[in-house]
Subunit: 176 residues, 2 copies
């Protein structure tokens, strides 16, 4: 329980865009629900069937994703009332995260070969997703690109990012 | 508790590379630890200080990341014994996932403006990370690229991916 609380506290206070993103997607189920939604699922039964998730957990996760602004609840039938869960723009834009996770998983955790890949819809050729800078087209590597403070960076973060060039051996550290 | 068990069960059985990836990174703390490692942290105290995470949780997460093959434990001092946690190749290759999360978080969850951005190390210009296909250079969009079965896809997955072209209105679904 303390883990849960610490996690929450830490995330709420964080200005880190990664921590904020993680707060929105909540937990693994949420990521897999977004995966299903990007695959075309919109209805409770569809999510339920493909994820084999308990209905009460699914309800909770769908509600959280609606509250986070990633899914929109839409009435598609009046008698009896039935709702569809449709991705918002923010939800659709989660796709690169899933593609990056898929690429990484296929590279390292599919010893029998990948079971699902991304293919060019026109040619059918398997894609190799890489991150590049939209403007320069240069691949995003740790060497060519560095983290820098944005307009909302506070003093502590600026100091931290400035220290980054320091080699580990000159930094303090004892435990471990 | 049942949530935890279901999650585990479902993930272990899954051939989905996203689910497998999520199994490896375990939970949010693990992702933030990888973030710190990619920022240059290697020592217990460094992780502890920047994440403000309870020592027992940090120990558990570091061990899990070592077991998952994402961090390597190295002795850097003999008396008293001190270990550093160094990224493996698989751990370093998690970077695109973090960049994708950062980009998404900056776009949607930084109303006051981003606090941290990615900048070209040579020019200092802010980067706009996008996923493209390495070979063709085409941006990875839901329209231009589709999921396809890989060599290890089973019959059920093949059927599922084949059904994807079907518009939602022709599919069954009731609950919701």
């Amino acid at each position: 329980m303390s883990e849960q609380i610490m996690q929450r506290t830490s995330f709420k206070e964080s200005r880190c865009p990664i921590a904020r993103s993680l707060e929105r997607v909540g937990e693994w189920w949420s990521i897999l629900i977004l995966r299903e939604a990007l695959l075309g699922s919109t209805r409770f039964d569809e999510f339920h069937k493909s994820l084999q998730i308990a209905p009460n957990i699914l309800t909770r996760r769908l509600t959280a994703l609606v509250e986070a602004g990633l899914l929109e609840r839409r009435l598609y039938q009046e008698h009896p009332p039935r709702h569809a869960y449709v991705l918002t723009q923010a939800g659709r834009d989660f796709q690169p995260v899933l593609v990056a996770l898929m690429t990484w998983g296929n590279r390292y955790f599919a010893p029998e070969g990948p079971s699902v890949v991304l293919a060019d819809a026109a040619t059918g050729r398997r894609a190799e997703p890489v991150l590049v800078d939209r403007r320069s087209g240069r691949p995003i590597t740790a060497r060519a690109f560095a983290l820098a403070p944005g307009p909302a960076a506070d003093r502590r973060l600026r100091a931290r990012l400035a220290r980054r060039g320091t080699p580990p051996s000159t930094r303090r550290g004892s435990h471990g």
